[in-house]
């Protein structure tokens, strides 16, 4: 029991520690590298959640490009808040596409010039077109391809067709589903409806970030056949009312053990056995498994709730810093970072270059859904999977191909937040 928390905390502390070390090394050991910016090192303040940050990526970027990456770590909601209220407090931001519906009208972004991004044509079609392997995937919610292009660089209108002005250059994306404890449930789980199954009374959890939690709730309601949605990602007031009513009823009946809003909370709930089925994120499942506790990121017949995150530039960025930001983005798409992310269970924006930076057996396991030829190690060297296992949900095409909806900001967002608070207070 104690181990669980120690690991949870030490991982976080380690991340912070390493980020600080990386930043510190960056400022002192400039002369060691024959880098482009060795004469005058440029530091980019990189704003994002902890999920998107990796000291290893910052260190490698420093080695190759000479650019110092200074991570600014905040929560999902705070990324948006910072962009709106303090647009000068960062040089580069890694934020989710769903936030763009609020960010772009604020005018605090400058679109990225597609001509300066070398691999722009190689960006995954899941993001640029909403297609995987040539087939359309679910586009309910704020699907990235709906908000990828602007009419002009400092425009406030999304373009309906491809332009040379890109809102966010994708960094990572994934298909999320429910996490389960197979050892405690002991039977197959196939539907989102199981989250509210009275069989698991007092042992489930949903995440308390409204714009993501509402989508999980919608998947559950739809699976139970309680609500039929026109578009889950853009509900009407009636649909919101019905969705929340189901949640309130379940809450009053004691269905939920707790709600979580932080990565580490979800790991603790699952690892300690407080919950057996809950909303979860892929690296959290990995974190539980690294403790030697069985945990499955369970594919479900209704499909996945997808999310995508990408680089954006603040409107005030210019000169050398702007050049450095483009250089860093180009390096990021160049494969090393992509491979690093793929090995964590996320997906890279440019698949070809990531593949070139991975061993064939790694690629086969993570991306093709084949049984692992040898033991699979995480980016930090820890053992993730023994030889012979298959990734939950299978290949990239199977997982991303089964996306049902995307995280979303709705037209009725204000109303949704009000109803969500009612649910929490119920």
């Amino acid at each position: 029991m104690d181990d669980k928390n120690k690991t949870g905390i030490s991982r976080r502390t380690l991340l912070k520690g390493s980020a600080i070390t990386a930043g510190f090394l960056g400022t002192t050991a400039v002369t060691g590298f024959p880098a482009v910016h060795a004469d005058e090192p440029i530091t980019l303040r990189y704003l994002s959640t902890a999920t998107n940050q990796s000291p290893a990526i910052a260190a490698k970027a420093k080695e190759i490009t000479g650019i110092n990456i200074e991570y600014v770590t905040v929560t999902t909601d705070d990324v948006t808040k910072r962009i709106i209220t303090q647009p000068d407090s960062f040089d580069l931001v890694d934020t989710e596409y769903f936030a763009l519906r609020n960010l772009i009208p604020s005018g605090n972004f400058q679109a990225i010039d597609a001509n300066k991004v070398k691999l722009v044509d190689k960006l995954a079609t899941a993001i640029t077109k909403g297609e995987v392997d040539g087939k359309k995937i679910g586009n309910q919610g704020t699907a990235p391809h709906k908000v990828l292009y602007l009419e002009k660089q400092r425009g406030k209108e999304f373009a309906t067709e491809q332009t040379e002005w890109i809102t966010l250059i994708p960094t990572t994306y994934n298909a999320d589903t429910l996490g389960i404890r197979p050892d405690l449930i002991k039977r197959p789980i196939e539907s989102w409806a199981e989250l509210l199954n009275p069989e698991f009374k007092g042992k489930t959890s949903i995440l308390n970030i409204p714009s993501i939690g509402i989508m999980d709730a919608a998947m559950v309601n739809e699976a139970m056949g309680v609500v039929k949605y026109g578009d889950k990602g853009n509900m009407t007031k009636e649909e919101i009312d019905k969705t929340i009513a189901t949640l309130i009823e379940a809450k009053k009946a004691g269905q939920f053990r707790a709600f979580w809003s932080d990565f580490n909370e979800s790991v603790n709930l699952m690892a300690s056995g407080e919950t057996v089925v809950q909303s979860m994120w892929s690296p959290a499942v990995t974190a539980v498994r690294l403790k030697g506790i069985p945990c499955t990121f369970q594919p479900l017949k209704e499909g996945y709730r997808a999310w995508a995150s990408g680089f954006g530039l603040p409107k005030t960025l210019k000169g050398k810093k702007l050049d450095a930001a483009y250089e860093f983005i180009n390096w990021f798409l160049d494969g090393w970072a992509g491979a690093h992310l793929n090995r964590q269970g996320y997906y890279a924006a440019v698949l070809d270059t990531a593949q070139q930076n991975m061993e064939p057996y790694e690629w086969a396991f993570w991306m093709e859904g084949k049984p692992a030829e040898k033991d699979i190690h995480g980016p930090d060297g820890g053992l993730l999977e023994k030889a012979g296992t298959v990734r939950d949900g299978g290949s990239y095409n199977t997982r991303m191909g089964a996306v049902a909806c995307w995280n979303s900001i709705m037209d009725e967002n204000a109303y949704m937040i009000q109803k969500w608070n009612e649910f929490i207070a119920a």
Binding site: M1, D2, K4, N5, G8, I9, D77, D78, T80, K81, I84, R101, N102, L103, P105, S106, G202, S205, N208, P210, K251, F256, R257, A258, F259, W260, S261, N264, N268, S272, G273, E274, I409, N413, A414, I417, Q418, W420, N421, E422, I424, A425, A426
Partner: protein, 293 residues
């Protein structure tokens, strides 16, 4: 000249604190109040003077009576915690302060024991909260012990993520705020008054009730103000220990700020402020802090 100087001197001396208060307390408060009448979109707030935010805060509160609306229910729940935590910390804080002042004879021992009461503050709030899970969780130490001695056959779920755990954590955190002011008042009680009470034949309880408690009133009032304001505004402890299933006024405001709905969050903050001020005003009706300091 000298007269002029001395007349203005107190004002100059008070000026630095007054300025700090003005900039960091009064000004933000005024801004919050002003913004609570503004309108907003998902990405901007616009100056205006509308009551919509207050109307939303009390949406359906009158029409749905006797059924309580979200806001009333939230405040009722917060007030309930406030009352419970206040009562428990008061009894605990008073008893501990009494022990430290009247039972501990050595000054050094008193100092060390007083410092020990601050132990809950030696680590960060979040880590302290997380540490409760291995203790109170379904598979936690307490449940395992109860199971092993045969007192229960199924783990107790209400130990964690419940009203019980919220009160426990809040008491753990806030008792020291009660101890310190009461300790301060008590240590200034003239011991000869207590002796006089005994000499005139008062029992221990009578001395406590008629001498010590009245003379500790200021400390009790100050401690109460600390505890009540902290608990009314708390959302981290209630959130973490309640498994985020228990609403609090602070949590509602946080959710609205996260959704960039600053004006409605400001309106709720003003409502919260008014309620807390009303509680404190009532408290001050019983004790005139200024007179007794």
């Amino acid at each position: 000249m000298l007269e002029m100087k001395s007349r203005w001197a107190p004002y100059w001396q008070a000026a630095p604190l007054a300025i700090v208060f003005l900039i960091f307390f009064v000004l933000p408060l005024l801004v919050t109040f002003a913004v609570s009448f503004w309108t907003y979109t998902g990405y901007s707030i616009e100056p205006a003077f509308v009551g919509d935010n207050y109307a939303t805060a009390f949406d359906k509160c009158l029409t749905s009576l006797p059924e309580l609306c979200t806001t009333f229910r939230t405040y009722l729940s917060t007030l309930k915690f406030c009352l419970m935590v206040w009562l428990i910390t008061l009894v605990l804080g008073f008893t501990i302060a009494y022990f430290l002042v009247f039972e501990v004879k050595s000054n050094n021992a008193r100092l060390i024991l007083a410092l020990i009461t601050t132990i809950p503050f030696w680590t960060s709030n979040v880590i302290r909260m997380i540490s409760w899970i291995p203790l109170l969780g379904r598979n936690g130490v307490v449940n395992q012990w109860l199971l092993s001695v045969g007192l229960i056959s199924e783990p107790l779920d209400w130990l964690l993520y419940s009203n019980f755990s919220v009160v426990l954590a809040l008491v753990h955190l806030n008792t020291v705020f009660m101890i310190v002011p009461i300790l301060n008042s008590m240590s200034r009680i003239d011991k000869s008054l207590v002796e006089a009470a005994y000499d005139t034949g008062a029992t221990g309880w009578q001395t406590l009730w008629n001498v010590i408690i009245p003379l500790s009133k200021t400390g009790i009032a100050i401690g109460s103000i600390f505890v009540i304001t902290v608990v009314m505004g708390d959302f981290i402890s209630i959130g973490l220990m309640g498994g985020q299933q228990i609403a609090s006024a602070g949590k509602v405001i946080e959710a609205q700020i996260n959704a960039l709905q600053f004006p409605i969050a400001a309106a709720n903050a003003v409502v919260l402020l008014v309620i807390v001020l009303m509680i404190i005003w009532t408290l001050l009706r019983f004790v005139d802090i200024r007179k007794e300091l």
